[in-house]
Amino acid sequence: MAKYLLLKHYRGAPTAVNDVPMDQWTPEEITAHVGYMRDFAARLEGTGEFVDGQALAAEGLWVRYDGEGRPPVTDGPFAETKDLIAGWMVIDVDTQERAVELAGELSAAPGAGGKPIHEWLEVRPFYGVSPTITE
């Protein structure tokens, strides 16, 4: 098993095919979307492939060391001009093919018009521990 990080809604990546802001959806569409994500996570818990997932707030800071005795540099809360990760999920799967398959499924969460969003997800493997020699 290997762990993969699925980064959701990575702004700065190509936009989703069905790219409509969520507050322009109908309440039913939002319910369907949230339900899809929840069912997806629940199913992976069932298969033993779910590790963790969290949603991230929209506001963040870029911070940089600015030299001895100086406060760190920040560029303040940012909105649409900077990269933003809306959330992530960690899965633990047998193969990279499975990770890609699941990411594809997650990207198909329904959006406006009940149609899949086709959003881009980034799939990143974790570094694992070095294999133990048992023989």
Partner: protein
């Protein structure tokens, strides 16, 4: 063997050890050892006096540990003169534990962790799971807190308000994992109210019971928030409401009003309304006025603006809101709600979307996004 019973005995046992002069951190370790021993021994051989048993075993563990330590410092003789372990005295020693755990030298998160551990008797693993942090992280947080209060001596009563704030913090964390922090906060505050006779302790307990009573109705099966007005009141816990109201009335009768009693009074007025439309908003506004006098908190004035909007109409609510800093959490959401009630749907939709962007948790964000979406669908 009853885990809840064991946990309810923990603070008393710990309090006795501390009063006998044990250092807090060492006493806490000794009590944990005694609890482990109890879990092992009691099923086959239950004691007649569980608390006395725990005190005896914990004191022995403490002496063993201290002796091992003291051997290096040649202090054994002194320890042999300590009082012999015996049954628990009738005096309640738990109060100083509350003061210790809520000591002003601790950060709020450390005070919460230490209270859950020492007064609530939760294991480090349970506290870690409730706060979604690794057990090792929580273990460090707790030992740091114990080191911070290690030298604190209690010769005068601590600040009740600080203890209540810590209990309220625990309550507001809600729950996750296998520990229900809201229920835990109620249990701890119940113990506190049995220990200390103070109208604000009763006020906080009443407030928690009244809020907790609505819990089942506050979320839909899919996890989304259900606002007060739309909650199914048949799902409110009437027993909890009755208990909260009774505790509150007894506290109010003593005529020493404080912020928790005032908040509980507002919660009681909501709990009392058979339907949302029958809510006594005029009286709620009066309680918010009391509360604003007691606390001068901008959050209270924000909530007051909502109540004014219900009692005197949305325009009056917006006027009350205009006097407040719009950087306050939920200020935008309140503005959106009042504009919607005033009929300005486009403005309300825009503000809901903005409020969703600023929301501090996922359920709130989804709820506000849904509100924006609902209005945008109407406007199309």
């Amino acid at each position: 063997m009853n885990e809840v019973m064991l946990r309810s005995l923990t603070p008393g046992v710990l309090g006795i050890l501390v009063r006998r002069g044990a250092d807090f951190a060492a006493a806490e370790d000794a009590v944990q050892d005694a609890l482990v021993e109890a879990v092992r021994v009691w099923p086959a051989d239950p004691p007649r006096d569980p608390k006395g048993w725990l005190v005896t075993v914990a004191w022995r563990k403490f002496l063993d540990a201290t002796r091992a330590d003291a051997a290096r410092r040649r202090r054994e003789d002194l320890l042999d003169e300590e009082p012999v372990p015996g049954p628990a005295p009738a005096v309640d020693d738990t109060l100083q534990l509350y003061f210790l755990c809520a000591h002003p030298s601790l950060t709020p998160s450390s005070a919460v962790a230490l209270t859950l551990r020492a007064v609530g008797g939760l294991t480090t693993r349970q506290i870690a799971s409730a706060y979604l942090v690794p057990e090792a992280t929580m273990a460090q947080r707790i030992s740091r807190a114990k080191r911070t209060v290690a030298g604190v001596r209690f010769d005068q009563p601590g600040d009740v308000a600080t203890v209540l704030r810590v209990c309220y913090l625990i309550f507001n964390e809600g729950y996750s994992g296998d520990v229900d922090l809201a229920a835990e906060a109620i249990r701890i505050t119940r113990q506190l109210s049995a220990t200390i006779d103070h109208p604000e302790v009763a006020g906080l307990l009443a407030l928690m019971l009244l809020h907790h009573a609505r819990r089942a109705a506050r979320t839909a099966p899919d996890g989304s928030l259900v606002p007060l007005a739309e909650q199914d009141r048949a799902r409110w816990d009437t027993r909890s409401i009755a208990e909260g109201v009774e505790i509150l009335q007894a506290a109010l009768a003593r005529d020493r009003l404080g912020e928790y009693q005032a908040q509980a009074a507002i919660a009681a007025l909501h709990a009392d309304a058979p339907a949302a439309a029958e809510t006594d908003w005029v009286q709620i506004v009066e309680w918010y006025d009391e509360l604003a006098r007691l606390t001068d908190s901008p959050v209270v004035r924000l909530n007051r603006a909502v109540a004014v909007g219900e009692a005197d109409g949305p325009r009056a609510g917006l006027a009350a809101l205009a006097a407040l800093d719009d950087a306050l959490p939920r200020h935008t959401a309140v503005a959106a709600y009042l504009h919607e009630r005033d009929g300005d749907l486009a403005m309300a939709a825009r503000l809901y979307a903005e409020a969703a962007h600023r929301a501090s948790n996922l359920a709130e964000r989804d709820h506000l996004t849904r509100q924006a979406a609902r209005l945008n669908a109407l406007l199309r």
